[in-house]
């Protein structure tokens, strides 16, 4: 009935549907998931470009990595920040698992904790930038450092924006065990932000 009505160009009046007409679906993948999938793939390409610059400086050009000109990276602070971000993924998973099982307390506590932990990570990172002692334009290694960590920080900010919306909606009583895509999709994004941080931390701070 839907296909026939659309091909005829007639407006479909469905008393149960609110908002604009449903978008055309040409993929078996759910639109929301497909959108996040394509977005994350493009993000992997962006990070790939920045890692290429890192690889070029460190491997191809053979330049010395940190410490450079007396400046060392705060590995311990970044390790603490890594623990915070990994914990936020745990709480995110807790929130998602909770709503799947109809546990509203777990959803609210989990998503709020995730948001607070993510905010703490960003706050610590900004504080690190203020006290690190060098600027992006000082030397090539600094440019790559700020480029990679700054790009990641921007993604954390985007994630926090999504999480803020999910937190507000969770506390307003939205989401059900059957319909919680609004928790799942930001959750996938958040775990990817965490995965990228593990890669950035390992290559920039540790190795």
């Amino acid at each position: 009935m839907e296909a026939g009505a659309m091909s005829a160009g007639a407006a479909v009046h469905d008393e149960h549907h609110h908002g604009p007409p449903p978008a055309n679906r040409s993929s078996r993948v759910e639109p929301q998931l497909l959108g996040m999938l394509l977005f994350i793939i493009s993000e992997i390409m962006v990070f790939g470009a920045f890692f290429t610059a890192y690889f070029f400086i460190r491997v191809v050009a053979g330049d010395q990595w940190f410490p450079v000109r007396g400046h060392a990276l705060p590995v311990a602070v970044a390790a603490f920040n890594t623990a915070i971000l990994l914990s936020s993924s745990l709480t995110m998973h807790w929130a998602q698992t909770s709503i799947k099982n109809g546990n509203r307390f777990g959803l609210k506590a989990g998503i709020l904790s995730t948001f607070l932990l993510g905010s703490t990570f960003l706050f610590v990172q900004i504080n690190e930038y203020i006290h690190i002692g060098f600027a992006p334009h000082d030397f090539a290694q600094a440019s790559v450092f700020f480029g990679l960590t700054g790009l990641h920080g921007a993604h954390v900010f985007i994630g926090l924006t999504l999480l803020a919306m999910v937190t507000v909606r969770s506390w307003r009583g939205h989401y059900t065990p059957a319909e919680h895509r609004g928790v799942e999709v930001p959750g996938i994004y958040w775990h990817f932000v965490d995965i990228m941080w593990v890669v950035v931390y390992t290559s920039v701070y540790v190795l």
């Binding site: 990994l86 995110m92 998973h93 998602q96 959750g187 775990h191 890669v199 390992t202 540790v206």
Partner: protein, 36 residues
């Protein structure tokens, strides 16, 4: 086959996998640097 883009659960497991692999790589590199 783990598809981290299929669900939050798989994305979380992919994260755990990446953390494990990173820990192994770090351990190998640091031990190699200490020995050679």
């Amino acid at each position: 086959m783990l598809n981290p883009l299929r669900s939050e659960d798989e994305a979380f497991r992919a994260l755990l996998w990446v953390v494990g692999v990173a820990a192994v790589i770090i351990a190998i590199v640091l031990i190699a640097r200490a020995l050679f």
